[in-house]
Amino acid sequence: MKHAHQNQCLDRTERNCSEDTAKKLSTIFLKYRKDKDDLLSILQDIQDEFGYLSEEAIHLLSKEIRISENEIYGVATFYAIFRFEKPAEHRITVCMGTACYVNGADKILDEAEQKLGIKTGQTTEDGKISIGHVFCNGCCGHAPVVVVDNEVSGGWTPTKLDKTIDKLKEGSP
């Protein structure tokens, strides 16, 4: 049975894994020893490259460093940073650190949820905008802080976020 399952996985990989993905992955693998101790760093590199950890990437990694996919998922799901689905085009992350919270970050997050009709951690149906929160970006002097895509900025209000969401929606599809 085990053997059959492995074959199935290989088939799937051959079917799904584009040449480009395989090439990018092998470049990442080359940086490391084939060692369990490098697992976290390799996963971080894969996410940096692809934006998330796809099933096929984890499958190829499993074959490469000879660790079961279960074990890889065990490590990956422990850390909040890892995503397992393609990220939204735009990501709004509201900082919920203490300084931001006492300065009204929860109201900003509420605004995002109401405006987009989704909850924290979810993505709009069209895959365009996701909202999330993080516990502190370390820019507490400018609280409340919001990260739009990768840009951290301070002094946010619900109104400012409302306008930003409108702009993101209008942006190119």
């Binding site: 971080q44 422990f78 850390y79 909040a80 650190g97 203490t98 605004e111 502190c136």
Partner: protein
């Protein structure tokens, strides 16, 4: 690496200070960037280009006063740098035109000079009320040098501490650090000298060193400020520590949210290898050591040393019972020494000035200085450094400038989710490890969040529990299930559904979780509840018995109302109300439909201060004091 490296670096530094071209220093640490420093930099660059002006731009970290960012200091030939605060993109071209091209400072716009004495009617920048009371030892270079330049660090006598250390035996280095009285700046306050000795004395040929730069406490950014302002200080400390304990490999575990720190540390280690400060035979001493960078992946528990080690080894970051302690069995079962970033950053100073001289700062038992990140409802936000023993009052009211927006001070929260809230009645307490612990708060890694009358202390406890519950790794039952139950109780209370037995349930859970949890995360998780119960019991009672939130913050127990006698019908609030809960015609007092109101508070924010017509009310119709 020889004497010429320092003399060459000092010449480079002097050439910068004596530059015949104007020099523009830009504070581009993460906090500066969050305030728009990169946009200001871009505007300055394009204006310089369009006017064909030859000027030099030097990126620096943050001096500390984040509320003044973006900070730009301009040095005209022959003069000291002049500091301009809160520079906007629109102003950038004016600075280029009038100051750099015009050759004269705009003294009414500048806030100080970086010089030994006042000049042109401008005060010394370091005489600013936020900066004057500080004693900057570990942060001494932050915001003044280019963090990506090893030459700048060498010009500030960088790596002289390492040179002194390598001239001593490892045992003598440990004695020097022990004599300084330096205690761990990560919060636990364990003697650094003692920690090193334990690892030094542990049997084993291979030993490891870890610098914990996983600054995960929400509301804390002291390590970021140091690493983005003066990364070599921390790395020098690591090399000294490695020499003292006999480690051949070190890891710096950097928080995921700090990409700039990773960039700077990577650059710094390359420079160190280039001039022989890392690798084989460091400074021709025969000592070999190298540093690898590891990145965190958003797991607060990895600040705990055994969990951190698991993460460095690529595993799930779950803590383990101690003993064995890392000093005897750490990374891959080998003796391992773990120090906090600020501790590492302090070590070079101790070796440079001598342990006894360092011990003169601070107070008996808690020597030296401590950095704090000052945030929340305080006027002057930023990263500060004060001698141990400095009263909280001086920090909040002198350095911090008091509570923002004219509100009244309620409490200051120290130590993040593991710490507690110190009420105004105890504000004269000095900051040292023991005094803060006695109050039920802790020193922690340096977060100080100021809270005003609008902060509900029950809600703060709920907030911190939501954090610890989210971050609990789930390994031990008291923490995994206990924090969940405590959070549920606090949620009930803040929603007005608490009952009188909830306090007893909370107290019982606090004791069980404190005593029964495996690691520091669980053991300290009850602290925010215990201190708020101790100092703000009246707020719990008000929520439970009167179903009232005295701060009018808990949404279920408050509402917004427009006071008809104050409302002029300016209509500012009606258009901006997202759920459309406000009705009324221009010129006629408006009203809020409570069934539609989401209590976002935007109407109160936009109501002109001269009207102040939007009031927060509790459920017995008492208006919040404005």
């Amino acid at each position: 690496m020889n004497e010429a490296a320092w003399s060459g670096a000092k010449e480079t530094w002097k050439a910068l200070k004596d530059s015949e071209r104007p020099v523009i220093y830009l504070g581009v640490a993460s906090c500066g960037r969050a305030a728009g420093a990169l946009a200001v930099k871009g505007a300055i660059q394009s204006q310089l280009k369009s006017r064909s002006i030859d000027a030099r731009i030097v990126d620096v970290g943050c001096i500390g006063p984040c509320f003044m960012e973006p900070l730009v200091y301009i040095q005209l030939p022959g003069g000291p740098p002049v500091v301009y605060a809160n520079v906007t993109v629109a102003e950038a071209s004016r600075l280029v035109d009038e100051v750099i091209d015009g050759g004269a400072h705009i003294t009414e716009r500048a806030i100080g000079v970086l010089a030994d004495a006042p000049m042109w009617g401008l005060p010394r920048f370091f005489d600013h009320p936020m900066l004057a009371p500080q004693v900057r030892l570990v942060l001494r270079n932050c915001g003044l040098i280019d963090p990506t330049s090893i030459e700048h660090y060498l010009a500030m006598d960088g790596y002289l501490g390492l040179k002194n250390a390598l001239a001593k035996t490892p045992e003598q280095v440990i004695e020097e650090v022990a004599a300084s009285g330096l205690r761990g700046r990560g919060g636990a306050g364990f003697s650094t000298g003692m920690k090193w000795k334990l690892c030094r004395d542990a049997p084993g040929d291979v030993k490891y060193l870890i610098c914990n730069a996983d600054e995960g406490n929400p509301g804390t950014f002291v390590n970021r400020t140091l690493l983005e302002g003066d990364p070599h200080a921390v790395l020098e400390g690591m090399v000294i520590a490695a020499y003292a304990i006999g480690a051949s490999l070190g890891f710096i575990y950097i928080r995921h949210e700090y990409p700039l720190v990773r960039e700077y540390i990577h650059k710094a280690t390359l420079d160190m290898r280039r001039i022989g400060l890392l690798g084989d035979n460091i400074m021709d001493s025969g000592f070999d050591f190298d540093i690898q960078i590891r990145t965190g992946a958003l797991a607060f528990v990895c600040g705990e040393e055994t969990a951190l080690m698991a993460s460095v080894m690529g595993h799930r970051g779950m803590p383990k019972p101690r003993p064995p302690f890392p000093a005897t069995s750490g990374l891959w079962g080998k003796p391992t020494n773990i120090n906090n970033t600020e501790t590492m950053g302090t070590v070079p100073l101790v070796l440079r000035m001598g342990g006894a001289s360092y011990a003169k700062y601070g107070i008996k038992g808690s020597s030296g200085t401590k950095t704090f990140s000052l945030g929340g409802k305080v006027r002057n936000t930023g990263c500060i450094e004060v001698p141990m023993g400095t009263p909280l009052r001086n920090i909040v009211f002198d350095i911090g400038g008091g509570v923002a927006k004219g509100k009244s001070f309620k409490a200051v929260q120290t130590g993040g989710p593991s710490g507690g809230c110190v009420p105004s009645s105890l504000i004269d307490t000095g900051v040292d490890y023991e005094k803060l612990t006695n109050l039920g708060a802790i020193m922690g890694s340096g977060g100080l969040i100021v809270m005003d009358e609008d902060t509900c202390m029950v809600d703060m406890a709920r907030y911190f529990l939501s954090f610890t519950q989210d971050e609990s790794c789930g390994k031990c039952v008291p923490c995994r299930i206990g924090t969940k139950r405590m959070l549920e109780i606090l949620e009930r209370i803040t929603q007005g559904e608490g009952d009188v037995d909830d306090i007893l349930r909370l107290e019982g859970l606090c004791e069980t979780i404190n005593k029964g949890s495996l690691c520091g995360l669980g053991q300290t998780a009850p602290n925010p509840i215990l201190t708020t119960l101790r100092y703000f019991r009246n707020e719990y009672d008000a929520h439970i018995i009167e179903k009232r939130c005295p701060a009018r913050t808990c949404k279920a127990l408050m509402r917004f109302e427009i006071l008809a006698e104050k409302c002029t019908g300016c209509d500012d609030c009606r258009g901006i109300c997202a759920p459309g809960a406000i009705s009324g015609e221009p010129g006629i007092p408006h009203a809020i439909d409570q069934s539609k109101c989401t209590k976002c508070g935007v109407c109160q924010d936009v109501c002109p201060p001269k009207n102040s017509a939007v009031a927060r009310m509790d459920n017995v119709d008492r208006e919040a004091d404005q």
